[in-house]
Amino acid sequence: MLKSVSRTFRGGIHPPTEKQHTEKKPIEVMPPPERVFIPLRQHTGAPARAIVKAGDHVKAGQAVGKGPGFVTTIMHASISGEVVSIKQRNHPVFRHCETIEIKSDGKDEWIFGTAHPRGQADQLPPEDIKRIVTESGIVGLGGAAFPTHVKLSPPPEKKISLYILNGAECEPFLTADDRVMQERTEDIVLGLRLMMRAVGVARAIIAVEANKPDSLKVLKAAVSRFSEIEVVKLQTKYPQGSEKQLIRVVTGREIPRGGLPMDVGVAINNVGTALAVAEAVCDGKPLIERALTVTGSAIAQPKNLKVRLGALFKDVIEHCGGFSAPPVKILMGGPMMGIAQYTTEVPVIKGTSGIVALAAESLNIVESQTCIRCGRCVNACPMYLIPSVLGILCERHKFEEAKAMGLMDCVECGCCTYVCPAGRPMVHMFKFGKMELFKQAQKKREKEAK
């Protein structure tokens, strides 16, 4: 069943998609690198702790880091070889993080868990699926990297009635999800069904933007056998892949402020995550590699790649022919929400959906002017905020007022900043405001604790 969704969320923008560079290129397997760097923090939640020490020999797929609590994930070696060091190193998100460095022995020996045949996956008890997902260290591969096993274990009082698989991939430049949907269609549907089974949901929707017609076609064919799964075509618009907006589009329901998808009876995951779940359950393969897009105006040969986690950006870019022009910005993720890197010596982590290197001409770096109150940000904001006023309040350090106007609701999608004719760095000011509020709250807590 292919249903077209004409309704859409209010706000949003239409940046150039730039997907033409890689959308037709099949995912290429990048050979395992000589060295990998496995940071112990690759997810939302508490960092893991190393369970190996320098000098240990590890195999690909062997657990090397374990978390102390529930909201954390297990880290696995992504190549076989010797643990060289465990120390603070560059991290693409947190700047620095305790990182396990592994030097390859060239053998690429794998050690995997139990493989459950694909045909019998349907009979697996939900508890087993959750356990396998936990042991495989799977996190949301859309970019936020929230531990998947946590999502699969909603509190019993929350009744989940719908599973949404997010194949929107609305960020410009990125095409890895699109390719995964085309090349691993069956496994994605299988992964979705496993997750539905784990949570106990009877109905699912796979949501894909209209600019991925090939993915829509193959997914539609693949779900035709399952009456409980529906494929929905979405209008192409940014930030459609944002959880809150996607749920609004698909179900018409709004997640309450400060709430989670389960508050409106929805569980939601990225398509890449579904693939990882299928591979973990049916192949016994933990999350040690992921598909990502290497692209941008400064990359010589833009590609979709399957990369071992822990490979350095440098090596990945080298595999794509290096730079064709001097890069001015190198991003982990897409140009709307990606994180700018100050060095290419950072590892690919679980949340790396793409590496985008931009040359000077694709960046429109402008000086910030006074807000002229044009209201474009207000119309672009998918969270119905007034970014212009929030930005001014943050600028003037009136954080409490900004909070009262919804600063904490901002999802940092960047629509306001994208459309602003005065070049105001609004997302920057919001991040600053949120951080200051966080610091104030922390101080207050400390004071009360005394």
């Binding site: 001097p326 700018a340 006074t370």
Partner: protein, 334 residues
């Protein structure tokens, strides 16, 4: 290589939108009415417009130089204010009037508040209202007959026609269509639509204004809701209360087309800086402007209420903004 990498917060791409482009777009939108005004009222009005624009630009540059601010005349906004001041002057007004009006607009209504984006009142209208208060005769006696220059003894290039002392009776139109008391020249609805009536340089041709307004809407610089609610409110109120034969006998179309209503509704009330930021707020502003315009036309001393209505509503903009904050996503959902 790594040393050259730029690290900023996202987003890393931007649309091509810029303040310059917006201001340039408004200039483009004003081209039809500027051309129409110059055609109707002769080369003299072109000179008046040029003087107004020049005065605005020079004033802004001078103030910024003196205060050691960045000189911002390159954003075209000062020129725009000057052009607006010129367009709302009677075509026979003396040239110095345009210069003083523009200088006041920029110096007092714009720069004194901190420059572009920080002013509360529409600078051009503030300038016009100042001129109305200070030189009421010059501001209400300079009406010219449309296409006066076609009369014998004149040419399009005639400049001295409206030197206040030497103004020729032949080219004076007795009043604008909205003037109370006096007997206006006969005109048809078509005249009002094309602009062949007395009035300010830029207000008479509804056709040219609508073309410009359509361009602004097409370029998404304004939303149709504000001009529509402004014009509709004025028209309906004048139709209801503006007739000589009792209620609902007023001339709707005449009141919409005559005077500066269309110019005000599409170009002045919609000024980004001084109008509410949400569409809901702009609707309120439009209705408010319409009501005040109608009130002035019905009960007020001056024949026209558009300038006053917009300035008064400008003062309410912060209040409107405060009470039209949209419902945040996820608020009040169950």
């Amino acid at each position: 290589m790594d040393r050259q990498l730029v690290v900023t917060t996202p987003p890393h791409i931007r649309s091509a939108a810029s303040v310059n482009r917006i201001m340039a777009d408004v200039h483009i939108a004003l081209a039809p009415v500027t051309i129409a005004g110059v055609y109707l009222f002769g080369f003299r009005s072109a000179v008046l417009l040029a003087v107004s624009v020049l005065a605005a630009v020079v004033t802004e540059a001078a103030i910024e130089k003196i205060l050691k601010w960045d000189v911002t005349i390159g954003d075209y906004s000062a020129a725009l204010t000057g052009l607006f001041v010129g367009l709302v002057l009677p075509p026979g007004a003396p040239l110095w009037l345009g210069a003083i009006g523009s200088a006041f607009s920029i110096a007092v209504a714009k720069m004194a508040f901190g420059g572009l984006g920080k002013n509360i009142f529409n600078p051009a209208l503030a300038g016009r209202v100042m001129l109305l208060a200070a030189w009421p005769i010059a501001m209400t006696k300079g009406w010219l007959q449309p296409l006066w220059w076609r009369q014998e003894g004149f040419s399009f290039w005639t400049l001295r026609v409206a030197d206040r002392l030497g103004i020729s009776v032949d080219v004076i139109t007795s009043a604008t269509p909205l003037a109370k008391g006096g007997a206006p020249d006969p005109y048809t609805m078509m005249d009002l639509f094309t602009g062949r009536v007395g009035g300010c340089i830029g207000e008479t041709s509804a056709a040219a204004l609508l073309i410009g307004g359509a361009y602004l809407i097409y370029r998404r610089l304004i939303y149709w809701q504000l001009p529509a609610s402004f014009i509709a409110t004025t028209g309906i109120l004048m139709w209801a209360f503006g007739g000589q034969q009792g209620l609902f006998t007023g001339d709707f179309m005449m009141h919409v087309l005559a005077g500066g209503l269309i110019l005000g509704a599409f170009f002045m009330a919609t000024d980004m800086v001084t109008s509410p930021i949400t569409i809901r707020g702009q609707l309120i502003m439009g209705i408010g402007c319409g009501a005040i315009t109608a009130l002035v036309r019905l009960k007020g001393g001056p024949p026209e209420g558009v300038s006053y209505s917009i300035l008064i509503m400008n003062a309410f903009t912060p209040l409107i903004d405060k009470y039209t904050v949209p419902r945040p996503f996820g608020e009040k959902v169950s």
